[in-house]
């Protein structure tokens, strides 16, 4: 029998394997909300333990080795040293959430309540700084607090939007070195890495939630307008960012090596439910040249496959994603306009790996019956898994409101599709 790593390897080469490999929890866009992780532990008969929040922004829970075994998960993640709020995942302590769950959070997870009872979180865990994230009382995760300083059109300086793109520190490199050594000793699963600094204009990153005082264009609407109204400013940012990314990729590759099978390069969303955030021409002009340089470097110097995340109706852009050198598309939002999995598989399946699309998460997974979920998953696997090139994952993270029975039905569906 082949290992999970070998299974992923084959599928990333768009070959078939003995079964479809499964990712649930290896990245910040293929994860599971901490509430569901605890329920899954109970449903699979694992002993109770408070679950670690490994990604505080979206409150994703750790899917550990025990749960990977119980659910048949094939892929694990190599994560950046610091979280979206700029603190390290270390020195764990208990924390009670709005929904009454006791979870483990790192010491840097410093919060206060505002006058409405909403939870505020602070960059680098520094409560003397202005908060950079807010979790409303009725919510299950944080959203960024935009801290846009007044923009002076005459003195806009791309350097202000480049502050976060610095050379990887010795601590970063040592972190990856240790993580890879541990992985090599203990795991036979596939490995995808999120090493950071390579996403071009990811709207989740633009407000800089890990920074104490972000400068430049940090407001979400302002950034979208900047893409069209200030293209020179954006080119200047992407140019410098790409130079830094190329140096960082080289440094990271030196310590990580070919342990990594796929790299999560960019999570910029180009799709809405029914359309795109920009035209194909804008993508080609503004984004593609920089992606191309990063992807070309990766393909020339490593064995890594490159993972592109973009929500929404991106069908018109997929040809350009391929031209830019991306190997893998995620989350394959199958219910968005034009994203019919049959069509995607036929048109792009010989050139692209689909990592996601295994179950619709806007309707079927949260609101369907377990029977509907299972049948839907079997169909998705048949379509997307034909001739290989498919890693099972939900469309984006499994949210807090998804009934655990439906997640277990999803796992049954995968097993049925795999003939086991």
């Amino acid at each position: 029998m082949i290992t999970s790593r070998e299974r992923l390897e084959r599928v990333l080469l768009r070959k078939t394997a003995d079964r479809i490999p499964v990712d649930m929890g290896a990245t910040s866009v293929t994860g599971v909300h901490v509430r569901v992780v605890e329920q899954l532990r109970r449903a699979t008969g694992l002993p109770y333990q408070p679950v670690k929040v490994i990604e505080p922004y979206q409150m994703l829970g750790e899917v550990d080795e025990q749960l990977c075994d119980a659910l048949g998960i094939d892929v694990v993640g190599l994560w950046a040293r610091k979280t979206m709020f700029g603190f390290e995942n270390q020195s764990w302590r208990e924390f009670r959430t709005f929904w009454g769950q006791v979870v483990l959070v790192p010491d840097g997870f410093q919060t206060t309540l505002d006058q409405n009872g909403d939870l505020l979180i602070y960059p680098e865990g520094d409560r003397n700084a202005a908060p950079s994230g807010r979790m409303p009382k009725a919510s299950f995760f944080f959203d960024t607090i935009v801290r846009q300083e007044p923009l002076d059109e005459a003195h806009l300086d791309p350097q202000d939007n480049l502050e976060e793109f610095a050379p990887y520190s010795q601590e970063d490199l040592a972190h990856w070195s240790r993580a890879v050594a541990r992985y090599r000793q203990t795991s036979s699963r596939g490995l995808i890495g999120s090493i950071g600094g390579t996403a071009l204009g990811d709207i989740a990153m633009v407000p800089g939630p890990w920074m104490k005082r972000p400068r430049g264009v940090r407001d979400i609407a302002e950034w979208y307008m900047t893409l069209v109204a200030r293209p020179d400013y954006v080119h200047a940012i992407f140019e410098k960012q790409t130079e830094m990314a190329l140096a960082n990729l080289e440094a990271a590759h030196r310590v990580i090596g070919d342990a990594l099978q796929a790299v999560f390069l960019c999570g910029t969303d180009f799709g809405t439910q029914d359309s795109q955030f920009c035209s194909v021409d804008t993508f080609q002009e503004l984004f593609l040249p920089y992606y191309r340089r990063m992807n070309d470097w990766i393909h020339r110097h490593t064995s890594w496959k490159v993972f592109k995340h973009s929500c929404g109706a991106v069908e018109p852009l997929i040809e350009s994603f391929i031209e830019a050198g991306f190997d893998i598309l995620n989350p394959v939002q199958v219910n968005a306009a034009g994203m019919d999995p049959r069509h995607l598989k036929e048109r792009f399946g010989s050139r692209l790996v689909f990592w996601g699309g295994g179950v619709d998460t806007q309707k079927v997974l949260p609101f369907g019956t377990p029977e509907e979920v299972e049948a839907h998953v079997v169909r998705q696997c048949e379509v997307l898994g034909r001739d290989g090139g498919f890693v099972f994952n939900t469309v984006h993270n499994i949210q807090a409101n998804v009934p655990v029975e439906n997640v277990m039905a999803m796992v049954r569906g995968i097993r049925r599709a795999n003939g086991s």
């Binding site: 807010r134 409303p136 009725a138 979400i220 979208y224 035209s279 998460t361």
Partner: protein, 222 residues
């Protein structure tokens, strides 16, 4: 001077805010929505005509292009910015009653949800279609909507949700509104929302895009 309203309309559609704005490059150095609206008022063009033929028509054209996939979120935001610059000059005429709005649209993103780009675009389009918009922002609870409905009898309410986890709050808010105002027009929208959900929770109307909201409002105001 005869062509001032078509020019204003083009500025709104193209996102040309004012003369100093560098965008769009092909209109560089030309007067924008700000200057042209001021000029039209000074020239004695009736404000209602400025609103209709300058602002509403420009926003309608960008809205149609957006619906057809020929314009995108950034272009919509830029058009709305130009529209807002012009609208500022018309506000005194709304206050004085010289220009009547078509109605009041109370809009907000539902409790627990902080996403507002889609809601903002709808709000701007509706304002650009001649309605008074009361934007309650994000994370809005039922009580807040109910309080605004009391202040604006006969208003239309718009609820937005981007998350499957907050659709349940949308359902509760619609139920609370319906308990007191069974006949009120309550519109719903947002990425995971669809016609089926709209019907199930007892909302009046769903549109996948802002232009659909504007078209529906036209039928109500007519």
């Amino acid at each position: 001077m005869n062509d001032i309203l078509p020019r204003l309309s083009l500025c709104v559609e193209s996102g040309k805010v004012n003369q100093a704005a560098a965008y769009p490059p092909k209109m560089k150095g030309q007067p924008g929505a700000d200057e042209l609206c001021r000029e039209a008022i000074a020239a004695g063009v009736p404000p209602a005509q400025i609103l209709e033929e300058g602002l509403v028509s420009g926003m309608a054209r960008i809205g149609e292009r957006f619906s057809q996939g020929k314009a995108f979120v950034p272009e919509m935001l830029l058009a709305a910015r130009a529209m807002t610059a012009a609208m500022a000059h018309l506000r005194p005429f709304f206050t004085s009653g010289e220009v009547k709005r078509r109605g009041v649209f109370v809009v907000g993103t539902v409790a627990g949800d902080l996403h507002d780009i889609g809601k903002n675009i709808v709000a701007m389009m509706v304002e650009g279609a001649g309605w008074e918009v009361v934007d309650l922002g994000v994370d809005v609870k039922a009580e807040r909507f109910l309080a605004e409905i009391e202040k604006h009898p006969g208003c239309v309410v718009g609820l937005s949700a981007l998350l499957t986890t907050t659709m349940v709050n949308m359902e509760k808010i619609v139920a609370d509104i319906r308990a007191r105002h069974p006949a009120l027009n309550v519109f719903v929208g947002g990425a995971p929302v669809n016609q089926e959900f709209c019907k199930r929770i007892g909302a009046s109307f769903y549109s996948p895009d802002p232009q659909g909201v504007v078209e529906r409002l036209k039928t109500l105001a007519a």
